[in-house]
Symmetry: C2
Subunit: 183 residues, 2 copies
Amino acid sequence: MTILDVAERLAQTRGYNGFSYADIAAHLGVTKASLHYHFPSKADLGCALIERYQAGFSAALEVINSQSAKPMRKLHQYVGLYDSVLRNDRMCLCGMLAAEYETLPAPMQDRLKVFFDINERWLTALLQDGRRSRSFSFKESAKGRARLLLAAFEGAMLVARSYGDSSRFQSAATQLLKNLIGG
Amino acid sequence: MTILDVAERLAQTRGYNGFSYADIAAHLGVTKASLHYHFPSKADLGCALIERYQAGFSAALEVINSQSAKPMRKLHQYVGLYDSVLRNDRMCLCGMLAAEYETLPAPMQDRLKVFFDINERWLTALLQDGRRSRSFSFKESAKGRARLLLAAFEGAMLVARSYGDSSRFQSAATQLLKNLIGG
DNA sequence: GTCTATAGGTGGATAGAC
DNA sequence: GTCTATCCACCTATAGAC
């Protein structure tokens, strides 16, 4: 378990303002001071968290893209990324940080939007592909649809977590894919 | 400006863990100690915040119900409640608190779910009415649809706020109403 | 790299005068 | 009801020994 592993879990369950160096130190059995050697300030740690999360997410998106699957199957796999986070009793890191946006250091705010932008671009491309191949059917702009899906997934995670009921997320995602994109 | 007014704004913009008695006191020009006279603990204040927010929301829902408008018009008015919050540069109080759920005192957690439950019930009833009168058309359960709408609205607010762009919310809401409920 | 020790600040909360 | 004064716990962060 690395510092980032522990910090990530804490940030995804309690939020950036909901954990401290002391929490991480306690979980790892080290002192707070040693953490500052690796991440001088909490803002540094926060930026590293988003960057690593982003990198992991991007890698997962590439894996999905590398398969020659139908667009709808790729979309289901995308939903699976969120679902696995939720089943791990966590909220999407960036959805969590979005709530705390106004309290975040500026460098974290910037990286947060990059995460959403990358997801939006990936989803937009998938939706365009799917519509071209007549796998998807929708009238609005692909970008608008992508934004809607992303926001709806984040919101569904947010509410599902309050109820400790991941089926709420799955129900929402299923409806979205069936009624909003539907072939 | 009352204590609750100031605290509400802070909670909606910075989150429950993102403001302190000192912040409220500074905005009101009083001391922290005097705040504790009205709300002994921060949990008391938090509960009062949710209860007042809930009461205001319920009152707004009754106003909508009291009109003899078409179901779709009522739904648009419901969306307008969220939109006005966002235009005020705020996030829905309960969407905000949902992110911080795990760090909240138990009494706040309970009240938070009550808020969502009440919204879900109101939306479910409206969707059922609309379907009965053939104003709405959807195949899934009204309850499932209600949950989806609520979660999607919260998520759309969440993301829109990070971009400081309320049109992102409006675009999402418009798509949801047109494609998910559509007549 | 990790430790001890500590600084300087802020958190929520209380006692008691007015 | 609001104030001053204060408490103690916790926060982020640094200095310097090992």
